[in-house]
Symmetry: C2
Amino acid sequence: MSLLREGMLVNGHVYSTGTGQVGSENAPKKGTLTSRRSLVITGCLALVITPCAMVDARSSLASPAAPAGVTMKILVLGGDGYLGWPTALHLSEAGHHVAVLDNFARRGYDFEMGVDSLVPIETLQARIRVWHELTGKEIGCYIGDLTDADFTYHVVRDFRPDTIVHFAEQRAAPYSMVDRKHAVYTQINNVMGTMNVLYAIAEIDPDIHLVKLGTMGAYGTPNIDIEEGWIEIEHKGRKDRVLYPKRPGSFYHLSKVHDSHNIEFACRIWGIRATDLNQGVVYGQQTPQTARDDRLATRYDYDAVFGTVLNRFVIQSVLGEPLMVYGNGSQVRGIIEIRDTVRCLQLACENPADRGDFRVFNQMTQSLSITQMAETIARVSPEKVTIEHLANPRVEEEGHHYNVVHSGMVELGLEPHLLSDTLIESLFEITKRFAHRVRREAMIPTIDWRRASSLIGL
Amino acid sequence: MSLLREGMLVNGHVYSTGTGQVGSENAPKKGTLTSRRSLVITGCLALVITPCAMVDARSSLASPAAPAGVTMKILVLGGDGYLGWPTALHLSEAGHHVAVLDNFARRGYDFEMGVDSLVPIETLQARIRVWHELTGKEIGCYIGDLTDADFTYHVVRDFRPDTIVHFAEQRAAPYSMVDRKHAVYTQINNVMGTMNVLYAIAEIDPDIHLVKLGTMGAYGTPNIDIEEGWIEIEHKGRKDRVLYPKRPGSFYHLSKVHDSHNIEFACRIWGIRATDLNQGVVYGQQTPQTARDDRLATRYDYDAVFGTVLNRFVIQSVLGEPLMVYGNGSQVRGIIEIRDTVRCLQLACENPADRGDFRVFNQMTQSLSITQMAETIARVSPEKVTIEHLANPRVEEEGHHYNVVHSGMVELGLEPHLLSDTLIESLFEITKRFAHRVRREAMIPTIDWRRASSLIGL
């Protein structure tokens, strides 16, 4: 029996048994339900087509649970990732029609570095199938690379989203600082992928709302308060509202700055609508949706490259390793819990920016120094915890000013979860359960900002 | 007889008849004279190896004419272009040891659009030969593409410059706005080429001074005065010196903003030295060096894509065509004459930035509105001139504030040539001599900022 079924998309073509033809396009009108799930395969990875992706092309998408008028078609780029996957589930549960897109680059980085998520994760296709089994809701699936413009245009034409949530970028500062190739890869992947998305929106449907993930790290640590994307300046007796000046701390962070400039320009010339979310460091591993079934789990990274600081500290404390603080630890980070991330994404989608508007939110809920984070973990941990200071491999200021405006999301309705004992306790449990999977040496930072080339995967 | 001679570089390898071996590297110590001229061939164009490039590999570089201590080894990236070539000659005449690098992309754009420089130009190899014949001075020559990192590293290792002058970017805003492919090409070519140069400096010799061409268009038209790259901001009672906020007007201008952010970061983490030159619109076609011989002429572009506004107005007036003003003409541009450009480059090279310093100059000498430029040409032209207003194909403000600080270059010693009748008269003469070469329809703007895709080459 052939794996191909009627209506499936393979390499950008609709497969049809009825006519024996392969059509090049199938764009249902926006706002109507598409009667099939799509699978598009293209891009850089050789993929085994798993049965889960081969669901009946004629089965309908889940009926909306959200109140009429709120239901949207939302395409989640990078929907296989740490945050993309929980966001897709959260939006699906909220009643939206969701499709995910991924090229599995993130899974590829694991192979490159010889690490893996501490919590085992299923294939994207299995995850989607489990979600369908548990909830009756369907999530569309497109496999491919945003730097492949034909693919990107095809997906936008096929799914016809109201909103595109864009997580599909290389997201680790240390990874971008490995060497020239990793820096160039990060900027091409991130900036050109986003460029293709912008053009697809402009050419196919300028009404699509782009919700783009950025980073608080794009601002650097200025000696003035950090506003939400824009700032009113008075200079030599004149005033203007300008993009907040950025001074980012890695080639990754720079890619987000480049994205923001490109997106602001696209809003200005084409009148498209965009929300730029400068997100703080995310911690936590579970949302109500991912917690339903082990097979819905999202990634939980502990290594020095992709592990975010709070998650890494929890893992180190469980393993009885010292918490590794870079430098004197006075560096401050904006942070946010994973449950707030998915809620912020929902709020951004359901309250779209106006046409032509480049809207920016600082997506974080509180600021803590690295030392404060370490001390919090040390206080709550059931194990005896020590803190160790390493020479800071990054070039960044210590003892700097850090006061961030982040009221936009609260005005939209966010009720922040602040760092609490409860959350950390649940993280300890998860960590203990999978502690045997840790490769301890992967927690040692080997990528030095001051060197143009470092070794990884040791 | 073989075209290959001992010591030549072909595809990054030193050709040696003495040993029969091809070595992979030959890096003379910095500050010493290299005893051969180099030819490296790589990259995207198929090239015919011309005899001019095959000069005796054992001939020495010209002896320095400049005072001891001032003589530098300067590598001019984009040394075949409108400004790169005159800059190379100017620096050579000033006694510096100059090599040029080019991939001939600019000549390729002419084929794509079916246009050509109004003034005929020789091949790069012929130009270099003529300069040697007339002055006895040699200019080294590297043919290849900066996005090819192996090539870029090789050239830096081989020539060992004290200073790298970087003109090698796609420089036309309209070209970047043709469609998605041209936008992506422009940003990859410009930003990744520069990234490779930054890494080559960091890895081979962090003491090299990068002198990078940017554009006044990167600033946009803020309602506050434009400072030189950095601005002191007071905000909520606190102060900082930050990068001047940019709001550029095309994907080309955005590429320069991305470059600047990447370069500032490289200075910060690796302690390299860079000068960013935000240049105004350049006009004029001759420098004392290019005027010596017709075969040393630089480009003179009149088309709507690469022709800069003042040069285009001169050509239109000579042809009896109306001067085409986009919109109401109240848009203001910073401008600079070509003789001041080459002098600014010399000043920047001879007064390098400090290690770790990201130094910025606004390389322009005066501000004029488009209407003022048209009126100046109309007043001086021997022909009867009319002015025609077209719907502005760009998205830009009219009637905006524009007050630019540009004192840095004057403090280094620049004595500006302001727009004068004399200069324009010489431009009229050049234009008349070659007016028969104009393709008139190429002066009509066909690239519309508001559309995501426009046609060219019609």
